[in-house]
C-alpha cells in the first residue's frame, strides 16, 4: 500500500511538473458572436487567433508554451450573459488574459464584475465609449481602439470640410451610441454646426417609421447614424431612403461594413463616414496575412483584435510570466517607443528580441500607440460612397 501511494505520488508529481512546463497559456476571446455585431465578430476572432497561432508556432513565448484561444459569446448587449461567460473563462478555463469584449456596455460590465475582482487583464479591440477611459480598472484594462471622444472630433472635421453645418443625429440606445452621439454633438456645436435633433433608436425592432418621421420633421443636410449596421442602424437608413427623408448620410465606425454597401448599393451614394484604420505598412501586411488565412482583414476591428492578442502575449514575454498581476505593467512598455518597431507577422522576431533583453515598440496592424489610461491614440479612415462602392478618401 505504501509503495502504491508513493508510486502514485511520484507519478502525480511527475505529471504535474510536466504540465507546468508545457501546459498551454489560455487566452479568452470574448466577442459578440451573436447579437448586433455578429457580422463583425468572426473576422475579429480570426485576427486574435491568428496572432496566437503565430506565437505558438514561433515557440518563443515563456520557454515554448503554446497559446490556446478559448471563445466565449459577449452577446454585445446582454451584460449578465457576458459577465457569466467571462466568469466561466476565468474560473473554469483559467485564462491568463482576455481579448474583448467588443461592445462598450458589456465591456464595462465584464471589467468591473469579473476582470477587476479576479485580476485578469482585458484588452478590448473595439469598445470605444469615452466612459471607459475613466473606469476603475487597477491597470488591467486596455484598448487598441480609440475613445469616441476622438471620433466625435474627426467626424466634425469631415463634415465641416464638406460644408455641412446642419445635421440630424440618431444613435443606438446604449453606451456606445450615446457616448459617440454626445461626443459628436459637443464637438460639432463647438465648431459652429447645428444638430437639429438627437434621437435614440432601439436595436432589433420591427419598425423605424416613427424615428425616421421625427428625424425628417427636424430636418438637416445629412443624417448621422451612430448605430450598428446589423441592427437598427440599417433599419433607419432603409426607412429614411424609402420615404425620401434623407438622401445622404454620415456613418461612424459601427456602420462601416461590407453589409452596408450590400444592403443599400447606390442608394447611399454621396454619403460619408469614418472608422478606425490606418494606411501604415502594418495594415497592408495584415490584410495580406488575412487573405492568406482566408478571412477579410479589412473588416472593422479585425486588425485591432490581432493587435490586442499580440499585446497580451508580448507583455507576458516582457514580464517573463503569464500572471496578469505581473504582465499588466508591461503592456504599455511593449506597445510604445522606444524599441524596435514590430509589424504583424513579426511576433516571433519580437519575442526573440524580448528574450534577448531588448526593447520593442509594437506597431502592429493598426499602428498601435497607447496613450493616457491605456487606449489607442486613434487613426481614422475617411470613406465615402460612390456608385454603390466604398471609396477610401484618406486617413486622419
Amino acid at each position: 500500500m505504501k509503495k502504491f501511494l508513493l508510486a502514485s505520488a511520484a507519478t502525480l508529481a511527475a505529471t504535474g511538473a510536466f504540465a507546468d512546463a508545457h501546459s498551454p497559456v489560455k487566452l479568452g476571446v470574448v466577442l459578440g458572436f451573436t447579437g448586433p455585431l455578429e457580422s463583425l465578430a468572426p473576422a475579429m476572432a480570426a485576427g486574435a487567433e491568428m496572432a496566437m497561432a503565430e506565437v505558438t508556432e514561433s515557440g518563443l513565448l515563456l520557454d515554448g508554451v503554446t497559446v490556446e484561444p478559448v471563445r466565449a459569446d459577449s452577446t454585445c448587449i446582454d451584460a449578465a450573459a457576458a459577465t457569466s461567460a467571462t466568469e466561466r473563462l476565468i474560473t473554469g478555463d483559467g485564462v491568463a488574459g482576455i481579448v474583448g469584449a467588443d461592445c462598450s456596455g458589456v465591456t464595462g460590465a465584464m471589467l468591473s464584475n469579473v476582470a477587476v475582482p479576479n485580476g485578469v487583464v482585458m484588452i478590448s479591440p473595439s469598445a470605444t465609449s469615452p466612459g471607459l477611459s475613466t473606469a476603475e480598472d487597477n491597470g488591467l484594462f486596455f484598448r487598441t481602439a480609440p475613445s469616441d471622444a476622438r471620433q466625435g472630433v474627426i467626424m466634425t472635421e469631415i463634415l465641416m470640410d464638406k460644408g455641412i453645418e446642419s445635421v440630424a443625429l440618431t444613435y443606438t440606445n446604449n453606451d456606445y451610441g450615446k457616448g459617440l452621439a454626445d461626443a459628436f454633438q459637443t464637438a460639432f456645436e463647438e465648431a459652429g454646426g447645428e444638430v437639429t435633433i438627437s434621437a435614440a433608436h432601439e436595436d432589433g425592432k420591427a419598425d423605424y417609421s416613427a424615428e425616421v418621421g421625427a428625424l425628417a420633421a427636424a430636418g438637416g443636410d445629412r443624417l448621422v447614424v451612430a448605430g450598428y449596421v446589423d441592427q437598427g442602424g440599417s433599419g433607419i437608413v432603409r426607412s429614411a431612403i424609402d420615404s425620401g427623408a434623407f438622401d445622404t448620410f454620415h456613418f461612424p465606425d459601427g456602420m462601416i461594413s461590407a453589409a452596408l454597401t450590400d444592403n443599400f448599393g447606390s442608394g447611399i451614394d454621396g454619403s460619408t463616414g469614418q472608422n478606425p484604420g490606418t494606411d501604415s505598412p502594418g495594415a497592408q501586411l495584415y490584410q495580406e496575412m488575412a487573405s492568406a488565412a482566408d478571412y477579410d482583414g479589412t473588416s472593422p476591428f479585425s486588425a485591432e483584435a490581432y493587435d490586442a492578442a499580440a499585446l497580451i502575449m508580448l507583455a507576458m514575454a516582457k514580464a517573463g510570466s503569464s500572471d496578469p498581476a505581473e504582465y499588466k505593467d508591461a503592456v504599455m512598455d511593449v506597445a510604445n517607443a522606444p524599441g524596435e518597431e514590430i509589424l504583424p507577422g513579426e511576433l516571433g522576431k519580437a519575442l526573440q528580441i524580448l528574450a534577448d533583453g531588448g526593447e520593442i515598440d509594437y506597431v502592429g496592424a493598426s499602428a498601435v500607440e497607447l496613450i493616457g489610461p491605456g487606449e489607442s491614440a486613434g487613426n481614422y479612415r475617411e470613406v465615402s460612397f460612390a456608385e454603390g462602392e466604398l471609396v477610401v478618401e484618406g486617413y486622419r
Binding site: 434621437a199 433608436h201 420591427a206 417609421s209 421625427a214 425628417a216 420633421a217 427636424a218 446589423d230 432603409r238
Partner: protein, 336 residues
Amino acid sequence: MEPLNALVAFANFVLVPATAYGAQLALGALGVTLIYGILRFSNFAHGDTMAFGTMAVIMTTWGFQALGISFGPLPTALLALPVGIVACALLVLGTDKLVYKFYRTKKAVPVTFVIASLGVMFVMNGLVRFIIGPDDQLFSDGERFIITARDFKTLSGLDEGLAIKTTQAITVVVAIIVVAILFWFLNKTRTGKSMRAYSDNEDLALLSGINPERVVMYTWLMVAALATIAGTLYGLDKSFKPFTYFQLLLPIFAAAIVGGLGSPVGAIAGGFVIAFAEVTITYPLKKVLGYALPESLEPDGLVQLLSTDYKFAVSFVILIIVLLFRPTGLFKGKSV
C-alpha cells in the same frame, strides 16, 4: 397648396408606413389568436415560425432567380410563397406531433403549453440561424417603388414628397385578400365551423362527432400559411433577419391582446392600433403645422408629444388601459 403639403408630409411619414406595418402586425396577430382560440395557449414560437417560413420562401426565391423565373414588376418571393407555406406547415405539424400532442393527450394545463412553446421557440430560432445564418438577407426584387418621393414632387409640384413602395401596397392588398379568405373559411365551410365549435366548447364539439386531431391539423396549416405570409411581407418591406423576427413577437402579442385573444377581428384591429400608436404619438408636428398654420403661428420647436424613445411605452400603456377596462380586449376575446 400649403394644406396639401401638410397632408402629404403626414401621409408620407405616418399614414403609409403605419398602414403597412399595421397590416404586417395584423397577419402575425391572426396566427397568434387562432392558436390561442383553438389550441388554447399563447404560442411564443410564432415569431420564429414566421422566420422559418420566410427563410423557406427566401431560399425558393433564390432558386427561382437562379432559374431566371421572375414575376414581372412584382417580387419573385410572391411566387415562392406556396413552397414556403408547405415547408412551414411540415415544420409546425412535425412540432405538433413531437411536442404539443404529448401534452394534449395528457390534458396539460395551458401554462405547460406556453413553456413548451418557449422551448420550441429556441429550437426554431437555432434552426433558422443554422440554415440561413444570422445575417440580414435582402430578397425583394422587381419594382421597388410605385412612386418615389422625388417623382411625386415633380409630378405634383408640391414641396413634400410621397413615397409608396411596391411592398407596402402588396402588403396591404395581400393582407386584405388573406383576411377575406380566412373569414370565409371560418364562417362558411364545414371545417371552419367545426373549428369554431371546437374553440367555443371542446367537449360539446367532441360529442357532436368533430374529430379533434383534424381541427388541430387544420389550425396548424392555417397558422403556417399566415405566419409565412406575414413574415414574407415583413421581410419584403424591411429585411429578413432572424433576430428581428424574434423581437417582432412583442408587438404581435400586444396587438393580439389589445384586440382580444381568440378574436380574429380583434387581431386585425389590434395590429392597426399598435402600429398607429407607435408612429403617430411620437411624430413631431413641426413640418405639418408649419404648412398648415399661418406664418405667424409657425412653431419653433419640434412639437413632439413624446420622444421616440417612448414609442414602445405607448403601445404598452394602451395594452394596460385596455386590459384594465376591458380584460377581454376590444373585441371580446377570451379573457387572459
